[in-house]
């Protein structure tokens, strides 16, 4: 390879037969681009979820009746607080509000504004929020997707919620979340807890579920046992379970891979190798193999780089229109997520292994066939 005439000849061949090579390169670049785009999106979302998981409570307690989740009485809050080793017990009140004409729904989240931590966080997250002004009336803060939804349906700065009894509750929009947080806040609406209870017609003294932390990992099993002794209709969701289900969320099934592979194999059919009668002029089989091997490798490498560049631009600069729907769904409010660039060597290595090895492996035997030209043919 240090042999520069070899390199010059290799480039010459690539250049002279460029239209043939370009066809292969374009198709394989697109395959790599599709593959990398999918991996980039999933990697990016995984990184985001990993980030969120750090902030998540270790345990969530829910109440189960007849296999369905029902509301938790407020008294449980204190019962859990009394268990040793438990900290930051948080009541959560939330639910999905279903908008039947369009079959769409929002996630309504009730915030306790007397809780110092959450009110501080709200001040920071929504610019120009004067908390006192926000609390003076019953108002809400909406996510970007909800904001767009309201605009499309000609709601000017308010929304009429209908509670199960048919009463209409008009809630004005106070502000909206930053677009950058779309990945979690797109379909979210936050409002005071009491307002939410009246929309869902929940009892005053109930919560949706309770979240809490147990800082000492060794205590986890202990706490779990104590919780189950406390009530029989309890369901405890641990952070580990959530972590695992998140992890599986974006490891996808074989279908996509298989489809990509079919396309890859189709490209091989396109590869029609020109025969060179070089054996007659002092080339050995090894030399011909070397030439063809490098020729293929260069095409593979170029397609790989092309594909990665295209995928990077598509995912991180243009935020993956269409493909992001595959991951985030397209049944509800449309979500425009800004993806955070996450690319590491392992990921690039994965893409290269996945694409390059089968590609080169598939051309080995045809390349050998070219290399062992019969002397009779070589002389013709």
């Amino acid at each position: 390879m240090a042999n520069s005439t070899f390199l010059r000849f290799l480039l010459l061949l690539l250049y002279q037969y460029r239209s043939k090579h370009a066809g292969i390169a374009v198709i394989s670049s697109l395959i790599v681009a599709l593959l990398s785009a999918v991996l980039f999106i999933s990697q990016s979302i995984q990184a985001e979820t990993a980030l969120q998981l750090k902030a998540q409570p270790d345990f969530v307690v829910q109440r189960i009746r007849a296999g369905k989740r029902i509301d938790v009485p407020v008294e449980w809050l204190e019962e859990i607080q009394e268990i040793n080793g438990v900290s930051s017990v948080t009541p959560r009140v939330y639910g999905e509000y279903y908008f039947s004409p369009r079959e769409e729904h929002f996630l309504l989240f009730g915030v306790d504004f007397f809780d110092e931590q959450s009110s501080k966080a709200i001040e920071k997250i929504v610019q120009e929020t004067d908390l006192r002004k926000f609390l003076s009336k019953e108002q809400m803060i909406v996510g970007d997707g909800v904001k767009k939804f309201l605009q499309e349906h000609y709601y000017k700065g308010f929304y009429n919620f209908k509670n199960p009894d048919g009463e209409i509750i008009k809630v004005p929009v106070y502000s909206s979340f930053d677009k950058e947080t779309n990945i979690i806040s797109n379909d979210m609406i936050i409002m005071p807890m009491e307002l939410l209870r009246s929309i869902f017609a929940m009892d005053e003294e109930t919560l949706t579920d309770i979240a809490f932390n147990v800082p000492n990992e060794a205590e986890w099993d202990n706490v779990l046992t104590k919780l189950h002794l406390l009530h029989y209709d309890i369901r405890v969701i641990t952070k580990e379970e959530i972590t695992k289900s998140y992890h599986n969320l974006f490891n996808y099934k074989g279908g996509l891979f298989l489809a990509l592979y079919l396309i890859t194999i189709m490209t091989f059919i396109l590869i029609i190798y020109q025969r060179y009668a070089m054996v007659a002029v002092g080339w050995s089989i090894k030399d011909v193999l070397k030439l063809k091997f490098f020729e293929t490798s260069i095409i593979v490498l170029l397609s790989f780089i092309n594909g990665v560049i295209i995928a990077y631009c598509y995912v991180y600069l243009f935020d993956a229109p269409l493909l992001s729907n595959l991951f985030l769904g397209s049944e509800n409010l449309s979500n425009e997520v800004a993806f955070m660039p996450v690319v590491d060597f392992g990921l690039l290595g994965s893409i290269f292994l996945f694409f390059g090895i089968p590609f080169i492996a598939a051309v080995l035997i045809p390349v050998w066939k070219i290399a062992v030209t019969e002397p009779k043919e070589a002389m013709k």
Binding site: N251, I285, D344
Partner: protein, 322 residues
């Protein structure tokens, strides 16, 4: 089916291994035919066809082995990634110990990579001489490797198929830490003696590489490989992690330590690989294969400098030893 198979890295790794295995299988079948019918003295058409086919076999094997060598670090990367999924695992160590197939698989992988490297060198020697003197040796060696790789592929699938995501595994601090004060080092060595042996064996490998003593180099490199493994896990590793209690051969593969583990293990394995191989290659070629000495010296020195540098830099920065 285990959810482990849905992990991207595992999927891609198993796919690459399977593709390579198909190639190896083709090459093995052709090799069997070659070794049975091969008669270099013959002028028959069949022999000429075989000679041409030998090139196909050679190409396939070389390609497959290069990929094999490349997938070894990828395997480490893949199981490292799995540690998020397996409860209790902080790094690859827990995942590899998740069932009884893990460590045999890793050992077998390293062994196949070693023997494959030898095959590549013998193949090059063979092509340089005008009458294929090592043809039977290299084909036989390849058939042996093909059997090993078959076992390896089987272990690959049983290993990944048997990792459960519900049963917690032990973390590296349990596997490699000092349990109950017992000494994990073999032959009752302590750290000081281990280090003395480490540098002593290194100088032995260096001297045998410079003086081209193949037999001494063979022994010295094996001893060096073993002591270096213990030295890295129980001494140098603690300086890489900057934590006296953190003893693990796998954590250094992670991003937090700038992936330095790949360099550490790659240089150690390359150095000892060439050092150990000088002797068998000398037997085959009936002369010294010079570059093995050079590479052995280079990679071993790189390895020793790298791990020693971690200790020195730590001392210069903090003014104390761990």
């Amino acid at each position: 089916m285990s959810e482990i198979f849905l992990s991207n890295e595992v999927l891609i790794y198993l796919l690459s291994e399977s593709v390579i295995y198909v190639l190896i299988l083709i090459a093995a079948l052709l090799s069997l035919q070659l070794i049975i019918k091969w008669d270099f003295g013959s002028y028959s058409e069949i022999q000429f066809t075989l000679e041409k086919r030998a090139y196909l076999v050679m190409t396939i094997i070389t390609f497959a082995f290069i990929v094999k060598i490349a997938t070894l670090p990828y395997f480490a990367y893949g199981i490292d990634k799995l540690s998020d999924l397996v409860p209790g695992a902080m790094c690859a160590s827990g995942v590899i110990g998740a069932n009884e197939y893990g460590y045999p698989l890793l050992g077998l992988k390293i062994a196949t990579v070693f023997i494959s490297g030898t095959w590549i060198i013998i193949n090059n020697l063979d092509l340089q001489s005008p009458n294929y003197p090592f043809f039977r040796i290299k084909t036989g060696l390849f058939l042996l490797i093909a059997i090993l790789i078959s076992i390896e592929l089987f272990l690959d699938f049983t290993y990944f198929g048997n990792i459960t995501t519900t049963k917690p595994v032990s973390c590296c601090s349990v596997t490699f830490g000092q349990q109950g004060g017992s000494n994990p080092l073999p032959f009752g060595l302590d750290t000081a003696k281990l280090l003395v042996l480490f540098y002593l064996f290194y100088f032995m490998t260096a001297i045998s590489a410079i003086g081209r003593y193949a037999a001494t180099g063979f022994v010295a490199n094996i001893l060096f490989l073993v002591t270096a493994y213990y030295a890295v896990v129980y001494f140098f590793g603690t300086y890489i992690y900057e934590l006296p209690t953190h003893k693990c051969p796998f954590c250094m593969l992670q991003k937090e330590y700038y992936y330095v583990g790949y360099l550490v293990w790659a240089s150690l394995f390359s150095g000892t690989f060439f050092g150990i191989n000088s002797l068998p290659l000398k037997w085959f070629a009936k002369k010294d294969v010079l570059y093995t000495y050079k590479f052995s010296l280079f990679f071993n020195t790189l390895f020793v400098l790298l791990v020693s540098a971690y200790v020195l830099v730590y001392y210069l920065k903090n003014g104390v030893w761990l």
